[in-house]
């Protein structure tokens, strides 16, 4: 039995919108799981159902062996970090962190110790007397984390906590969250729409689309073997190239280009996916294209080109001398391609 079990969870809002559909998931103790998906895919709803902030229309959630469907959020022993932090504006940082402990009837001395310890851990011990309005975005973020940590809950829930920070701070906090989670070993669920965050943070990633789980797996599995076309497009930056093609006897026809897939598949309407950095550029490559646009990124550059009328991009080292308008030769290795059936979007 897993630490947190979701069984056939469904959420239908009173207006009839189906936000989450028949989702099942098992999460082990100490695991860091990331829910990732586009806006409105139901990932936050799922998180809020675990927190107890949304009713569950159907299905069962159990935590540590107990069904928690009808347990009040305050009794579930979960802590949540909100997107806008939801700090208590009229309380000092100390009281923000102490409030949950006070409600649990913990002695003043113990509260003092706990808050001070956590404040030191997060390096906010100089800010304890301040009000949230006197803190910077990063400091507020830390206080929100501290408020969750100090309660020592069974699960941490993060609802896109980094999306209000600037890019530099976001990277820094991302590392810090990861470090803290490792250090404390508390089961955590992190919701984000940013695939980089998902890849870097999660032990396992749950890709959600339209209220349905598309794939669950380690970042490596998800990246190297996406189960569906959606996952293939969503994970990875720059996006995976997907060519609409027809496959006859294991040969993919993309415009006038032929790629031998080394199998005997026959699909009328397929998508052939290849990551931009898996396209191998070499002088004796089989295929030739014109670089329409070159994006220089420092160590790498991205080339935008077309096969027939289908656009694609490839990522390569910027040491190669290639300018817009130049032709280049490349190979697509059949071991690096991902094949999807367009009728249902699943991997072939």
């Amino acid at each position: 039995m897993s630490f947190l079990e979701l069984q056939n969870i469904t959420k239908i809002y009173p207006n009839g919108t189906k936000a989450v559909n028949e989702t099942s998931l098992n999460i082990d103790n100490g695991e860091f799981v990331v829910f990732v998906g586009p806006s409105g895919c139901g990932k936050s709803t799922l998180l809020r159902m675990i927190a107890g902030l949304e009713d569950i229309t159907n299905g069962e959630i159990s935590l540590d062996g107990n069904v928690i469907n009808n347990i009040d959020p305050s009794e579930r022993d979960v802590a949540m970090v909100f997107q806008n932090y939801a700090l208590y504006p009229h309380m000092s940082v100390f009281n923000n962190m102490a409030y949950g402990l006070k409600n649990r009837g913990i002695s003043k001395e113990e509260i003092n110790n706990k808050v001070n310890d956590v404040a030191k851990l997060l390096e906010i011990d100089q800010l304890l007397t301040r009000k949230p309005s006197m803190l910077s975005g990063g400091q507020r973020q830390r206080v929100a984390m501290g408020r969750a940590i100090v309660r020592n809950p069974k699960i941490f829930l993060f609802d896109e906590p980094l999306s209000n920070l600037d890019a530099k701070l976001r990277n820094q906090m991302r590392l810090e969250i990861k470090r803290l989670q490792r250090q404390m070993g508390v089961t955590s669920i992190f919701v984000t729409h940013d695939q980089t965050e998902a890849m870097t943070l999660g032990d396992r990633i749950v890709v959600i689309n339209n209220g349905v789980v598309e794939q669950v797996g380690t970042p490596k599995e998800i990246y190297s073997k996406p189960n569906t076309k959606f996952v293939a497009e969503f994970i990875g930056s720059p996006q995976m190239n997907l060519f609409n093609c027809k496959i006859e006897n294991g040969i993919a026809h993309i415009a006038d280009m032929r790629i031998n897939l080394n199998n005997s598949a026959n699909i009328d309407d397929a998508s052939l996916g290849i990551r931009p950095d898996d396209i191998l550029i070499s002088d004796n490559g089989q295929h030739t294209c014109v670089a329409n646009l070159v994006e220089y990124l420092g160590s790498d550059m991205i080339i935008y080109s077309k096969i027939g009328d289908q656009e694609f991009s490839c990522k390569l080292s910027s040491k190669i001398n290639l300018n817009a308008g130049d032709t280049f030769k490349f190979d697509i290795s059949n071991t690096l391609v991902h094949l999807f059936d367009n009728t249902n979007g699943s991997r072939v």
Partner: protein
């Protein structure tokens, strides 16, 4: 320092406005420090006289009324109790009903709110006979309860609190829930401190409202022990036209000045809070 013409003009208007507000009060105060003979012969005064302590002492301690038992001090106490009771209960009740309307999603919350709102159209003066009937049937005439109770519901305050609570982000409630706050604790630990400014403002308005009630105490009280300052203004120091006695204008002005003090004090004391709350935006 140089002033632009527009600034000079605005300041002149401002100063005129201040004079218009303050001068009558000053005249009343100056007149209240003169003896009745000089007021009678010379009219309103601009400069201070010498009867300050005598007039104010008489006002506060002389027993008046038909029974010759009620003093102005007594009326001040009554008015204070009434205004305090009305203001406190109004604020508490409307804050709580707004809390119920906003946070407890029962059916009919919206119709109930509009029902409350419509009562704005039915002030006490309109329903004064039914109200009197109810209060007297309950045996509450000539009691503080009777003075206060019919006035403790406030649609205005409920409306303001409701609008304020609606601006508080949902995450705050959710976060508080996860921190183990029940609905009572959320009200006490979050809504009340967050609406400090609003509470102070409402308290000021309602205190002045309660203090300046005239008709209701007039109808409600037959016992002079329950007279309030505002109704006393019409009655006190007018009954003593005995023989050649002069109208006691000095004392009456002293009484008027004193009657203005409590609301002014409430405003001055709470205004500090009020402004402090406005400066620290805490949301």
């Amino acid at each position: 320092m140089k002033f632009k013409p527009l600034e000079i003009l605005t300041h002149i208007i401002l100063i005129l406005g201040v004079l218009l507000m303050v001068l009558p009060i000053w005249f009343s105060f100056a007149t209240s420090t003169h003896d009745n003979v000089s007021i009678m012969t010379e009219g309103m005064k601009f400069f201070l006289g010498e009867s300050f302590s005598q007039n104010y002492n008489e006002v506060l301690n002389e027993k008046g009324g038909w029974s010759e038992e009620v003093t102005a001090t007594r009326m001040f106490v009554n008015s204070f109790i009434m205004a305090l009771g009305i203001a406190t209960l109004k604020v508490v009740i409307s804050a709580m009903s707004a809390y119920a309307l906003v946070y407890f999603r029962f059916k009919l919350a919206v119709p109930i709110f509009w029902l409350i709102f419509i009562t704005l159209l039915v002030p006490l003066e309109v329903r004064i006979f039914p109200s009197y009937k109810i209060v007297s049937d309950l045996g509450l005439t000539n009691t503080y309860t009777g003075l206060i109770l019919p006035l403790v519901a406030s649609a205005t305050a409920t409306f303001f609190f409701r609008q304020f609570y609606k601006t508080i982000p949902d995450e705050l409630l959710e976060s508080a829930k996860l921190d183990g706050a029940n609905s009572w604790r959320f009200f006490i630990d979050f809504l009340l401190p967050l609406s400090k400014t609003m509470l102070a403002a409402m308290f000021i308005f309602m205190f002045v409202y309660g203090y300046s009630q005239y008709l209701w105490p007039l109808i409600m009280t037959t016992d002079e022990k329950y007279w309030t300052v505002v109704m006393g203004m019409k009655i006190i120091f007018t009954e003593n036209y005995e023989g050649v006695a002069l109208p006691r204008t000095g004392e009456r002005f002293a009484y008027i000045i004193l009657s203005m003090l409590p609301p002014v004090l409430v405003v001055v004391i709470l205004q500090r809070w009020f402004i402090k709350g406005l400066i620290q935006t805490e949301k």
